[in-house]
């Protein structure tokens, strides 16, 4: 994955925040996606203002104790979002 690309949430997905986790609902296909706390943190930053690298950096700053795992987690999460069609990369 190119870390310079900026992930942007697809607007069709409806987001419901439940105790720091998220349930996504895609009305066209009736698809649901569950985002745990880590994925929810990534999702909230997919507004097109940050590149993937900047999202990693922001989370590493917020959670320095988990800095090593964060890069892998963020990339995996973004790839999963992309696979499910809920973000586009610009």
């Amino acid at each position: 994955m190119n870390l310079d690309t900026r992930p942007v949430r697809q607007e069709e997905f409806r987001t419901e925040v439940l105790e720091q986790e998220i349930l996504l609902y895609f009305p066209d296909g009736g698809k649901f996606l569950y985002l745990n706390q880590t994925a929810a943190l990534v999702w909230e930053r997919c507004d097109g203002s940050l590149s993937a690298a900047e999202i990693i950096q922001a989370l590493q700053t917020a959670f320095p104790e988990a800095a090593q795992e964060i890069q892998t987690d963020v990339v995996d999460t973004l790839q999963s979002f992309q696979k499910h069609g809920c973000i586009r990369l610009e």
């Binding site: 409806r14 419901e16 439940l18 105790e19 986790e21 998220i22 349930l23 609902y25 009305p27 009736g30 649901f32 996606l33 569950y34 985002l35 745990n36």
Partner: protein, 279 residues
């Protein structure tokens, strides 16, 4: 005999001719409400086949909308009959959540157990009925829009061949064999009379949602699910999502927010005794 089967705000009509067909329908659906406000939107026909000298009377099951006829002894027709009735009740259900879930009752409150086919849901359901729970359904449960009460499609519970040995004296219970087309045994349907059923068909409040996972030799594992996870899991067992506003999304969220949900892993019924006490 004419009989309408009412559940989840829908009805399926049965037109039944002959003693073997009538006996099968009585066994299968005798505990279901025959009265209700909905008019049947489909009809299934069962009739005894002409006597051709077979040891067992064969039954002809005609499916709705076409002339397709399934013919065979009760043991080979019964599962298709059950599947068709369940499918048609769910197919146009718009009044609430039609869930692929077992439901049982204790102390007037419902334990709702969504789980996939073949996961041991019916076996667990039967075991719970022998351990203090009343039976609503082993397969399909209904929660009306905006409500938190649950009712069940009360039908015989289906124990697969591998589960029969778990329960001693099962042959003493009312049952109907289920056989494949080659006549090999698939399982037994245990009659509702043996399942500690509740009288009537009232909807009762849900106390807990439990997603059971059986694994042979597995340990007891209980995990409280977050509302988001519970909602996601519940959505996977919603069989009439396409009929509901926003595919049932607001309703599933409402339930997940208001009801405790658990994942229950187990490898043996003895492990569940503590879980039962805590319900």
């Amino acid at each position: 005999m004419k009989r309408n089967l009412h559940f989840a705000g829908r009805a399926v009509g049965l037109r039944v001719t002959g003693p073997a067909s009538c006996a099968l329908v009585d066994f299968m659906f005798g505990h279901m409400p025959a009265q209700g406000r909905a008019r049947p939107h489909v009809f299934l026909t069962l009739k005894d086949a002409p006597d051709d000298g077979s040891a067992e009377t064969e039954i002809c099951l005609t499916l709705p909308g076409d002339s397709q006829v399934l013919r065979g002894p009760a043991s080979q027709v019964v599962l298709r009959l059950l599947t068709e009735v369940d499918y048609h009740l769910a197919d146009r259900c718009r009044a609430g959540l039609y869930l692929h879930a077992a439901s049982l009752v204790r102390d007037g409150q419902v334990l709702l157990m969504p789980a996939p086919s073949g996961s041991g849901k019916s076996t667990l359901t039967y075991w719970l009925t022998r351990n203090g729970f009343h039976y609503l359904s082993d397969e399909s449960s209904f929660i009306p829009l905006g409500g938190q009460a649950c009712s069940g499609f009360t039908r015989p519970t289906h124990l697969k061949k591998g589960s029969l040995a778990l329960f001693p004296n099962l042959e003493d219970q009312p049952h109907q064999e289920v056989r494949w087309a080659d006549n090999s045994l698939f399982g037994w349907l245990i009659g509702t009379a043996a399942l500690n059923p509740l009288p009537g068909s009232a909807a009762l409040p849900i106390r807990q949602i439990v997603f059971p996972h059986y694994q042979s030799g597995g340990r007891l594992e209980t995990e409280r699910l977050s509302p988001a996870r519970a909602a996601f899991e519940l959505a996977g067992f919603l069989t009439n999502a396409r009929n509901l506003p926003e595919h049932g999304f607001p309703e599933i969220l409402r339930l997940a927010r208001s009801l405790p949900a658990w994942r229950l892993g187990y490898g043996d019924f003895a492990q569940l005794e503590e879980f039962i006490r805590s319900f």
